[in-house]
């Protein structure tokens, strides 16, 4: 890849001369799709990113959101960020995924926050293929290695398998940070000419050269060997030292602004910092501490060596910053200073870059690409009997237990995790603000493949329902929008639809989308990925505990929400696991009429003393939701008024509630959503399902055997 002709012309026009090789490389990377969002930015205005809780919205390393003030008036902020590491994870699953974690954690540090939770949403090709499983195992191991080492718990996430990820898996990682005192917040905006720029962390080497431009083109047939040098290698031990150093620097109030070195390395981070402040910089590239000899200016400028941060420091604090770095065995070099002029870099006495930082950061022209409308599916339903359908859907790796995954992640370090993975959402104790913070992240490629717009709306509602099922009200979200090659109108049409669908539902739920990440060109010789809108949402509640997902065996079982079982609607199976198992097509189910009322009421009902268990209904439909709630100690007898498809409809915005006060639940949802009594829980350890006058039973042990497919296959 190199600068294309029209960009080159624009740059020559602006500079009044040919760019130097270093400048050309900087423009190529910073004006790439990955850094400049040239194709997606015109779409992103669909998102509503404002709200009184939003302190820093999109555009910095991470967003900052205030938490509800504690009873004692204590104020705290959280940061939210999400990043994709898709192409690197295909080429080298372990290191690609690991460095994705490292990057989002440094984005958190650079806002002045301590990282308190990670979530990973992962997407691979068909689980039956060996190559998909190889990527899956490597990615999980990479996340486990890096996240566990740095002591940040991975508390939630999602894993999905779909044919169209075969040549291009997705690794989306979100991080929440905590700023327990608003005065500790810093941003990436350079503050004052004359301040020094200090690079802290790993020495710079020749790794990860051109990562940003690598992320901005389709994966080629030989990417696994050809693009290896574009993948960085992570060192979580150094990252942990960087976390400690960052805490110390904040404790001692030694930094004015900060940015982590990610895509486009030092050139990217330093130019963006000064551009944000409307300033410039003089940078001496020779001053950078280097890991290998004879590096060129361009290599120093664009290396994506990991675990490095750039700080703006007042001249009088420079020695103290160096001392903190030294205490934690980290390298530090003063590489230049903030100026009022251009962004200038010198190397061996020569000026190698001399451009306006704002033009470099913001000058890339936007693309206005054509889209094609997405087709709507006709109804063509397969014929499957209930027992076969239960077996197929319960043992699909998409709906199956993900315990094999989260067991490899330390999800309890930092002693905040009160609801652990395996439930609808994680809940974290944020004692600093007296807030229970619920966290959910995911998307369903079957949904957005079948219906990009409606499927994306369902993704937003499903994540919100996950929080509500644990008693939390959605507070803010970040999105990771993954698409194929935007130059193909049909692919770009689907991508444009997921953006609009996600934005629309978030607006209806009153959840500001405070930041995100866009990853395009997820396209390979085996075709484009399904458009995939990962949403990571946090919710708040005033307690740390939540009703479990598992039945207690003592209450009535209610289904809340519109659908084929309640509200008299016909089953719609578009995007369902049922259709992916048995073939066929159908329209995607509609979203409820009052999603916001549903979510708020569900959150309130979940926290009642009379609520014994709650679980959202999503992937795999009501059949999977009920089966997941059964354990060896508790079962249920349920009657569904409908035929087999009613059990597998994946209409979003529904919860199953086990309660000792069914009338109170009905009253709460009056005028908001229909409530249907399905049956009652008992101590049987068996799920008994009556449908169309016939009864089928499933023992807990049988359910577990179906749901264990991932562990059974990989162990």
């Amino acid at each position: 890849m190199s600068l294309d002709d029209s960009d080159h012309e624009l740059i020559v026009d602006h500079l009044g001369r040919e760019p130097t090789p270093a400048e050309a490389a900087l423009f190529e990377n910073l004006w790439s799709e990955h850094c400049a969002y040239r194709s997606s930015r015109p779409l992103l205005s669909a998102f509503d990113s404002e709200g009184e809780q939003v302190v820093v919205g999109p555009g910095d390393d991470a967003a900052v959101v205030s938490l509800p003030a504690g009873e004692d008036g204590s104020e705290a902020y959280i940061t939210m960020g999400v990043e994709s590491h898709n192409h690197p994870s295909y080429v080298d699953p372990f290191d690609g995924a690991a460095t994705g974690v490292g990057g989002i954690v440094r984005d958190t540090l650079s806002m002045g926050a301590y990282p308190i939770a990670l979530a990973d949403s992962l997407y691979f090709g068909d689980f039956d293929r060996e190559h998909s499983r190889y990527l899956f195992e490597g990615v999980v191991e990479g996340i486990s290695h890096y996240g566990n080492c740095i002591g940040v718990p991975t508390v939630t996430g999602s894993v999905a398998f779909h044919d169209d990820y075969e040549g291009n898996p997705l690794v989306n990682v979100a991080c929440i940070g905590l700023i327990d005192d608003p005065d500790r917040m810093v941003t990436a905006e350079a503050q004052q000419p004359g301040n020094k720029l200090v690079l802290v962390g790993n020495a710079t080497g020749r790794d990860g050269l051109g990562g940003a431009s690598f992320a901005s083109e389709d994966l080629s047939e030989d990417a696994e060997t050809e693009d290896r040098p574009a993948v960085q290698v992570g060192d979580p031990y150094t990252e942990k030292l960087l976390i400690e150093a960052s805490e110390r620097l904040l404790d001692e109030d030694l930094i004015e602004s900060a940015r982590d070195l990610g895509a486009a390395g030092l050139g990217g981070a330093s130019s963006e910092m000064v551009a944000k402040g409307g300033l410039g910089a003089d940078i001496e590239l020779d001053a950078v501490h280097q890991r290998e000899p004879n590096m060129t200016a361009l290599e120093i400028l664009l290396s994506e060596s990991q675990e490095r941060m750039c700080y703006e420091v007042t001249p009088e604090n420079v020695e103290e910053v160096k001392a903190v770095a030294e205490r934690y065995d980290l390298g530090a070099s003063v590489i230049g200073e903030v100026t009022e002029g251009n962004y200038r870099c010198t190397f061996e006495g020569e000026t190698v870059v001399d451009v306006d930082a704002h033009f470099l950061g913001e000058g890339a022209p936007m693309n206005d690409l054509p889209t094609e409308p997405q087709p709507t599916a006709e109804r063509d339903l397969p014929d499957a009997d209930l027992d076969a359908a239960l077996e197929s859907v319960l043992s699909s790796p998409n709906t199956a237990s993900k315990r094999w995954v989260y067991r490899q992640y330390d999800h309890e370090v930092q002693v905040r995790t009160s609801v652990r993975p395996g439930d609808d959402a994680a809940v974290l104790a944020v004692r600093e603000a007296d807030v229970g913070l619920a966290f959910s992240s995911g998307a369903d490629p079957n949904w957005t493949d079948a219906a990009p717009y409606d499927g994306a709306r369902a993704v937003a509602l499903e994540n919100a329902t996950n929080l509500a099922a644990k008693g939390a009200v959605p507070h803010a979200a970040v999105d990771c929008l993954n698409g194929g090659n935007p130059e193909k109108p049909d692919v770009y049409g689907g991508f444009s639809d997921i953006v609009d669908g996600l934005a629309e539902m978030c607006r209806r739920l009153d959840v500001p989308v405070v930041g995100g990440n866009v990853s395009l060109y997820n396209d390979s010789p085996s075709g484009p990925i399904p458009p995939t809108p990962t949403l990571a949402v946090v919710g708040t509640k005033d307690s740390y505990d939540a009703p479990p997902l598992s039945l207690s065996g003592e209450g009535d079982i209610l289904l809340v929400g519109e659908g084929p079982v309640a509200g008299g609607r016909e089953a719609r199976l578009g995007g369902s696991e049922y259709l992916s198992a048995f073939g066929g097509t159908d329209r995607f189910p509609a979203v409820p009429e009052d999603p916001s009322g549903f979510v708020e009421t569900a959150a309130a009902v979940a926290d009642r003393e009379t609520t014994l268990a709650t679980h959202d209904v999503s992937h795999g439909g009501l059949a999977v939701a009920l089966a997941e709630m059964v354990s060896g100690d508790a079962g249920a007898s349920v009657t569904v008024d409908g035929s087999t498809p009613a059990l597998f409809d994946e209409r979003p915005g529904r919860v199953v509630v086990e309660t000792t006060a069914p009338e109170d639940v009905r009253a709460a949802f009056d005028g908001v959503a229909p409530v249907t009594q399905l049956g009652s829980a008992d101590g049987s350890g068996t799920l008994s399902l009556s449908l169309d006058g016939e009864t089928t039973t499933l023992e807990a042990e049988q359910i577990q055997a179906y749901r264990d497919v991932i562990a059974e296959t990989l162990e």
């Binding site: 566990n148 031990y237 002693v415 104790a429």
Partner: protein, 226 residues
């Protein structure tokens, strides 16, 4: 008097342990390994994490750091010393405790809750429990399989130096209840004297009532009495 929770580069359960001890009313502080132990140290925790990134072998580098000489001296003076997880690996690497903790049988990192049976309730770390009592603790490790020569293990068993064994909810110790392949399901042992102990499960993660369980407080009580 304060319990020093030693922070090596890569430690990551250090703050958790201070928080758990503080919540129990025990005075505890973080001590960066290069700063040395405070004069008034009344107890030492070697916390969990990945000291020195687990490069070389888990715990091997930290075991050879200068602050461990101070820890050994205090241990000889009967100051309570507890190694948790990576701290247990450091304890064994520095010969404060016998045996070694090595790669799990699964060869993977495992984070999950397990049951432990209290084997000896007459140590500072287990006095809050009954012998044979079953408690639920989390584990979170990739290298937690206890290994030792057979004869040495027999000696430890005869001398009542096993603190906990992995078991099921009813206290049965079997191969099925062994999460990592530890010899004889051993989850924690004491040193020559029982005021020094190491264990792979995390008591500090089950010591804060707002997270649900306080099963782990019994272990940390070993510092309250010092």
């Amino acid at each position: 008097m304060t319990v020093a929770v030693i922070q090596f580069g890569g430690s990551n359960c250090d703050r958790d342990t201070v928080q758990a001890l503080t919540a129990m009313g025990v005075d505890a502080e973080l001590v960066w390994h290069e700063d040395g132990l405070p004069a008034e140290t009344s107890g030492v925790v070697l916390p969990g994490g990945f000291s020195y990134g687990d490069y070389l072998r888990a715990g091997a580098m930290a075991a050879r750091s200068p602050i461990m000489d101070e820890v050994r001296e205090l241990a000889e003076e009967e100051t309570p010393v507890l190694g948790i997880c990576n701290g247990a690996q450091i304890g064994c690497e520095s010969a404060l405790t016998p045996g070694a903790f090595t790669t799990n049988e699964s060869a993977r990192f495992q984070c999950e809750h397990v049951y432990l049976r209290v084997e000896n309730a007459d140590t500072p770390w287990t006095r809050a429990y009954e012998e044979g009592e079953v408690v639920e603790f989390p584990i979170a490790h990739g290298e937690g399989r206890f290994e030792i020569e057979d004869e040495r293990l027999e000696e430890l068993e005869e001398d009542d130096r096993i603190l906990f064994r992995y078991c099921d909810g009813d206290g049965n110790v079997t191969a099925d209840t062994n999460p990592n392949g530890s010899k004889h399901n051993v989850a924690g042992v004491t040193g020559e004297d029982d005021h020094v102990a190491v264990m792979m499960p995390h008591p500090e993660r089950v010591s804060l009532p707002e997270l649900g369980s306080t099963d782990g407080r019994g272990v940390l009580t070993g510092f309250a009495e010092s």
